[in-house]
Amino acid sequence: MSLVETVVEMRGITKRFPGIIANDNISFSVKKGEIHALLGENGAGKSTLMNILFGLYEPDEGEILIHGKKVRMKSSKEANRLGIGMVHQHFMLVKPFTVTENIILGSEPVKFISIDSKAAKQKVIEISEQYGLAVNPDAIISDISVGMEQRVEILKTLYRGADILIFDEPTAVLTPQEINELMKIMKNLVSEGKSIILITHKLKEIMAVSDNVTVIRRGKVVGTVQTSETNPNELAAMMVGKEVSFEVQKKEAEPKHVVLQINKVTAFNEKKVKVLNDISLEVRAGEIVGIAGVDGNGQSDLIESITGLHKVTSGKILLNGKDMTNKSVRTIIEAGVSHIPEDRHRSGLILDFSIGQNMVLETYYKAPFSKNKVINEKEVSKYANRLIEEYDVRTPSEHTLARSLSGGNQQKAIIAREVDKNPDLLIAVQPTRGVDVGAIEFIHKRLIEQRDMGKAVLLISFELDEVMQLSDRIAVIYEGQIAAVVDAKETTEKELGYLMAGGTNNKAGDSHGIK
Amino acid sequence: GTKDGEGTKASTETKQPEKKTLKVGMVTGAGGVNDNSFNQAGWEALQKAQNALGIEVKYSEAKLEADAEPDLIRFARDGYDLTWGMGSLMGEALVKAANSMPDSKFAIIDASLEGTIPANISTVSFKDEEGSFLMGVIAGLMTKSNKVGFLGGMKFPLIERFEYGFRAGVQTVNPKAEVSVNYVGAFNRPDQGKTFAATMYDSGVDIIYQGAGSTGEGVFAEAKERKGVWVIGSDKDQSYLAPDQTLSSMVRRVDVGVYTITEQLNKGVFNGGTDSLLGLKEDGVGLASSSDKNVPKDILDKAAEYRQQIIEGKIKVPQTESEFKEFK
């Protein structure tokens, strides 16, 4: 009577995939009105468990109770009916559809025989106002920001009247502002009596919003703790099985000569919009320059211009003093640039190549990997095995397809490939996106190592923490220009936030953006 | 080891006194023995020979051009006395088969095998221009708009014989009449045939002579939907396609050719190494018997007159562009 109702109870859930037990006798429950965090390394089995709850997988063993009633979840339709909604790790949005269409899909309001689009739009606006989830109902998904996509995903569940919401790594792709907003939205939702299951690798978020945390490791529950009675270090230890350090250990930087010089570069995108506006920036050997900025202010265009993927219309890009402006990608790579791209599936890997073949994606045509245009498989294997070893890429062998590695390990493979090329300039874009804390620690160490070896490192991340911890200098990008360059040790999150939103500080107070 | 012996034995027997049943094979082109056309006419002649002469007949359909040679050789190996190849496309295959099976006899219809014909081949070809000339006569005399048309499948020598024979006929009886000559570029596109026919009729042509294979069926389909226009068919009597719109058809007597040579061989005669060229005189080409349905008697009489003149050699019908120019 006095107890709060248990809305979800999963008992003894076991799910096997060929060669792996993803969930091993997991029991897990969620109470009404709580935010329950689910924590675990990459591949621990979190998504699998939630997919079972959402009816996407059928468990091999175990039972599920919703609101105390035993149910058999045969499909998502069933889950929808029971008031379970899920925001997936990889967004499930139909790109060419509008926001409204995505939300109503599957339960469309109908007038005669056609969709009642007016009513639909009305309903979308209603819910979005009720929960403070601002969206443009008529926008096409492919035109909107990730943040809005996220809100659309949430609206999808709310539209269906879900009161149990599953968020699978909702913040991996969001900017700090968007993350804050999402946190507020979640709190708002639980205050309305809904229950939330939150999967995230970011302990800070767990500490900030959750009520309880369940930690899983290798498919088994390690334990459930009350958030108020734990701390990040304890959680990390629970999930990895050993202590994890969050402090990034680094010495003072010793910047040397200029490696990358960007000089008044201007560029336009396909829609003829000016995306880089007379931008200038320098990166020296032996330093990490972080770029902070709200998504869409020209970060990716800047990187693409440096790496030769995008033509610039004016200005110069110099590498070690040599002109690299509008040179081909290969020329630039060969001049000593490495690039850890933002989207590992889209642009970092050939998923249907083996992990070994992916390791030589930029060097296959050179000795010793090929001779007289014939690939030397032995050398490729040897090399791949060395990287797999050195960078701790967890894979059965170098012949395994990249596709079947977990995200974190795919990321490590890319980092191994790019770092081992021994570049003069290492560009790292979102290098730790979606990977677990253990892997994050590992990746951070590698980046610092590069700096200390005298490489120039250009880091782009939407996670301010990461930028502030790793960088020596931070350049804030705003509307295609560098609004300011600040010393990482001296700046604050607040100052950066102010600059990112278009504010000016005294150092770079002259320019653009005010009008 | 055994391959040579058998073939030799099998073929010397035509002159033997105690006569074995004659075995005649036929390799048809794609479409087979019931193509309502060329191949069918040939096969029906063989069947007729089977009934009338008590010989044994069999056919095989070469779907691809490449199938013809093995099919021909297969018959020869199986001891067939004579094997027919149907159509000029089979010419080269027939020569090769004849060369590799020198003791077997072959015949081909609709091909003269330019150059020397091997001694174990007999060929039959048609003077299509002569038949087409008569179609030109009918069209030239029947046209009201003084505009007639020719629709060919693909432009190459065989079809050009149709074209120039027809044009010569039109010009002879009605020099004022204009002939609109068009080629679809395919023999298997009735849809395009229909488009062409519609366009030609729209442009004022009131009679179309088609030499376009199944593309030409589109001409009949189009004519059926119009009033006051006519079609002339080819190869066989095509009036069944549009009884009320068909003036005539240029019939080629493939059956006559096949039957004649088969019958001769049954009597022990084989004119190897020669070409039998069948024209109006030999009744190898001519008017469809249904022509009297839509063509007035006086015009048919006129056609008969020209037929006589061609037979007597008074008119030499052109086959090619240059001959046609001289004909003028």
Binding site: V94, I115 | G32, N34, N182, Q192, D202, S214, K224, E225
Partner: protein, 321 residues
């Protein structure tokens, strides 16, 4: 010919020629919008054309239905199209076979079946007899009397009007109804649709069967209005041209209609340029080539990425990433 008559002839012929393509291309749109590649359109047109011809001849010659027969033929073309498309659905959706292979097999099966049946039914002949009652052109009262325009667009086979109506209907269904939204979602992001309770495979089945119906109609249209019989060459490649029309029309019903009409126009242009005597200056063969060359130029001019549905060609397996 004066200019207006030339235009009249062009438009009229373009519509006649385009009609079967419109049907089949619409079929392609349905199937591919749902994520199922359909290079079996050719085969579906073949069985459609064949069964329509056989049925019409049977109804007319044996049952004596007269001019009503082609309508039964049309219906049969549709039905048999659906039946054969079931093969594609079962193999590529249920058994998750490569959709291109299944389509290739469908083409072979359809051709083999039709000719085999034809030989059985028509005494070994590889063509049917000729219909006495094919579809006749419809002259819309009054409108067809308008000079030029009347002949260009208001005198046409009933199937042409049906094709245009179906195009509008298809556009409406695909873009305005819940069914259409779900069908398209399944072709773009089947997993998303699945999580929202849309039955992915069922939607795809329906879409493929619709494509069978429409391509079957397309084939039927050829034999009922253009050739008036059926032979193994009746369809010869139109299914592939329809596929091109679908892509050219960017997987949109209206676009497909436009592309089909464009092909028709190009074809009609090739014919009229010969008839008007252009052959005096240009070889006839070159004019015959014209439609294909125009198409390449046109589609190159219409620069832009093809808008193929993202999940096209991928079979959907629940629980796979």
């Amino acid at each position: 010919m004066d200019i207006p008559s030339i235009l009249t002839t062009l438009v009229h012929n373009a519509v006649v020629y385009a009609t079967p393509l419109i049907f089949a291309a619409l079929g392609g749109v349905f199937s591919e919008k749902s994520g199922v590649t359909n290079i079996g359109l050719e085969g579906l047109m073949i069985v459609g054309g064949f069964s329509a011809a056989v049925t019409t001849i049977f109804c007319d010659d044996v049952l004596g239905f007269g001019s009503f027969s082609p309508w039964i033929g049309l219906a049969m073309g549709l039905l048999i199209g659906v039946l054969f498309s079931l093969q594609h659905a079962v193999v590529s959706i249920t058994f998750k076979a490569d959709q291109v292979i299944s389509g290739v097999a469908l083409n072979l099966l359809a051709l083999g079946f039709s000719i085999y049946m034809m030989k059985k039914l028509f005494d070994g002949s590889s063509q049917t007899t000729t219909m006495h009652h094919p579809l006749n052109k419809l002259r819309i009262p009054y409108l067809s009397d308008i000079p030029y325009l009347g002949k260009a667009v208001f005198t046409a086979y009933p199937t042409s009007y049906i094709a245009i109506l179906l195009t509008v209907l298809a556009a409406f269904i695909l873009f305005k109804t819940p069914f259409g939204l779900r069908l398209r979602s399944v072709g773009e992001h089947p997993k998303a649709a699945d999580t929202l309770g849309v039955n992915v495979n069922r939607m795809r089945y329906i879409a493929v069967l619709i494509s069978g119906a429409l391509a079957g109609l397309g084939g039927a249209t050829i034999s009922l209005s253009i050739t008036n019989n059926f032979t193994q060459t009746t369809v010869s490649g139109q299914g592939f041209i329809a596929m091109a029309a679908m892509i050219f029309g960017r997987w949109n019903p209206i676009g497909a209609l436009g592309a089909a009409l464009f092909f028709g126009l190009a074809q009609a242009l090739a014919a009229i340029s010969q008839v008007l005597g252009l052959t005096k200056y240009v070889p006839a063969d070159l004019l015959t080539m014209l439609p294909y060359i125009i198409t390449i130029i046109a589609i190159t001019g219409l620069v832009g990425r093809s808008e193929a549905p993202s999940a096209l060609g991928k079979s959907y397996e629940k629980g796979q990433r």
